[in-house]
């Protein structure tokens, strides 16, 4: 079985979610004795995709940006050329634009947001915002899977692999990028962070976020917030995690002064370890927590900062 996997890059680096997709595709094809071809574009050193598990890379140098329709045509050409029967993408912005189009064009079953490797033609994915897992059967000859970001780790045990030039007729992009506003920030992008420190209304006001940022910095974590906090403008919208904000699955999620409404939990319940700090012992979040501290954030967080500093000094 041949597997093709799309790898997206940003600012000269492959995204973490793309590397996860490559590792997923590599493990899937290896489990049935096949090979894994990573598909990418532009002027980037793509041999590094071998370290995440690709056997080879096909790269279209002439393409400079990832437009949904153009990448669809690139992947269709790569599928045709390779005869691949498994197609993998990350369930990120580009994956959400490309995978459905591929499914239509190839009449191929698509399982979106898979978090586990397939067994035969059954692929498991999270449903009900993480409250259940569905076992989905793919009934078509070709299977397409998009991998839920942060659910399948990057396996970086491989070695650099050969990169071959690949060209396809990709047409022109109908969606035009007018502007990209990158917000100046030294912090880690939230969807890619493997540790997150998040805070809610219990912080009483935006002026008190200094300690949240400091704790995050000491732990090497990104900062996030609850919906009420972004709605009243204490924190930017892109920090809002939850049902209507972004869903994250870090290894460590520390929630300070967040009660844990079900809508908030839906965005964070995939986290490996959840720590809840709240002065209300009845806060529903404690039911979903691995570790809890019932106490005032203004007393607890400074202790944690000091302890994290001491811990970092021993490393």
């Amino acid at each position: 079985m041949k597997t093709i996997v799309f790898a997206e890059h940003l600012n000269g680096k492959f995204t973490k979610s793309s590397l996860e997709a490559v590792s997923y595709a590599s493990a899937w094809s290896a489990s049935v004795g096949g090979t894994c071809i990573a598909i990418t574009y532009g002027s980037i050193d793509a041999s590094v995709l071998g370290t995440a598990g690709a056997n080879e890379v096909w790269k279209m140098d002439a393409l400079s940006a990832a437009d949904g329709e153009q990448i669809t045509k690139l992947m269709l050409a790569a599928q045709k050329e390779s005869g691949a029967t498994a197609i993998v993408l990350s369930q990120d912005l580009i994956g959400k634009s490309v995978a459905p189009r591929l499914s239509v064009r190839l009449n191929a079953g698509l399982v979106s947001g898979a978090s586990f490797l397939p067994t035969g033609n059954i692929v498991k994915k999270n449903v009900f915002s993480g409250k259940a897992i569905a076992h989905v059967t793919v009934n078509s000859e070709i299977s397409i899977v998009t991998v839920l970001p942060n659910s399948y780790g990057v396996n970086a045990a491989g070695a650099a692999c050969p990169v071959n030039a690949f060209n396809a007729e990709v047409g022109t992009a109908r969606v035009r990028v007018k502007e990209v506003r990158v917000e100046e920030s030294e912090s880690i992008p939230l969807p890619e962070a493997d540790k997150v420190v998040s805070a809610g209304r219990g912080m009483k006001g935006p002026e008190n976020w200094g300690m949240i940022e400091e704790l995050a910095k000491e732990l090497g974590a990104a900062t996030a917030c609850s919906r009420p906090v972004s709605d009243i403008g204490w924190r930017p919208h892109h920090e809002h995690v939850g049902q209507t904000g972004i869903a994250i699955r870090p290894n460590l999620y520390i929630a300070v002064g967040i009660s844990g409404a079900i809508q908030h939990l839906a965005g964070v319940n995939g986290s490996k370890v959840i720590v809840v700090i709240n002065k209300d012992p009845e806060a529903p979040f404690f039911k979903a927590a691995d570790y809890g501290i019932i106490g005032d954030a203004f007393e607890v967080v400074p202790q944690l900062i000091a302890a994290a500093k001491a811990f970092n000094a021993t490393k």
């Binding site: 959400k96 239509v104 409250k131 076992h135 506003r181 917000e183 919208h237 370890v273 570790y291």
Partner: protein, 246 residues
């Protein structure tokens, strides 16, 4: 401007998630179904705002059985002009998208709006499939949408910032948080919804390319371990030595 808004139903966020028939189907007993929030709060309300500002018509469309009618009436009560229910089982995303595209292809819609995903299946797939089936461009996960002279301008969140995109209509756009604010239907809207047109379209069944075999619940969380607030530093030790996450 002719706008089509695709709406799906979803169990209320507070619903108990349980399964029946050997865990092969969702247990709907006692479950309250709502309009999928992304479809209602963002896609539908933004469509209504655009219509109110520029004129036009907003049609809501659902694929599903008779149990969809209360969902559709809710969308009409919020302000959609008319509605279509395609009478077919919601088997898989490709079947649903095929029904939507077959209905929409000769109706001259300028804009097809969907929520970015349903809160029960979390697929984020139907908008892209509809776009491909209708040979239209797609902007996925737009958090802002404006339309001027047949050109849609969208903003969406990308890693580390925002991106501004432009696309000529007709196009498919999926809505993320920020595109609009939830509207609560008023009594006048609820009364008016009763008499608005709801067309039921019969279709041939399609073959599903995927099917759900069964469901399982995630392993139960072990009980929360409490740390003394007077000795909060112990948490850092536990995270390092026991949980091994730092």
């Amino acid at each position: 401007m002719k706008i089509l808004v695709c709406v799906s139903k979803a169990p209320d966020t507070t619903s108990k998630i349980a399964f029946t028939n050997n865990n092969s189907s969702f247990d709907e007993a006692g479950v309250n179904f709502i309009v999928n929030p992304y479809d209602e709060w963002y896609a539908l309300v933004r469509a209504l705002e655009l219509k109110e500002a520029q004129g036009g018509n907003v049609t809501v469309l659902s694929v599903g059985g008779i149990d969809y009618e209360q969902i559709i009436r809710k969308a009409l009560a919020i302000g959609a002009d008319d509605a279509v229910r395609i009478d077919a089982p919601e088997s898989d995303a490709l079947s649903v998208s095929t029904h939507i595209a077959n209905y929409a292809k000769d109706k001259g819609f300028d804009l097809i709006l969907c929520g970015k995903e349903t809160i029960n299946y979390n697929g984020s797939v139907v908008p892209g499939m509809v776009a491909e089936l209708l040979d239209m461009p797609l902007v996925a996960l737009a958090a802002k949408l404006d339309v001027t002279n047949g050109v849609a301008t969208c903003e969406r969140e990308v890693t580390g910032g925002m991106e501004v995109l432009e696309v000529n209509l007709p196009a498919v756009i999926s809505a993320a948080k920020g595109m609009a604010e939830q509207r609560i239907p008023n009594m006048r809207g609820i009364m008016a919804a009763r008499t608005k047109a709801l067309e039921v379209v019969s279709v041939e069944n399609t073959t599903a390319t995927t099917s759900v075999n069964n469901y399982e619940l995630p392993p139960a969380k072990s009980a929360c371990k409490y740390v003394d607030p007077a000795n909060a530093a112990e948490l850092i030790t536990l995270l390092h030595q026991e949980a091994k996450v730092i």
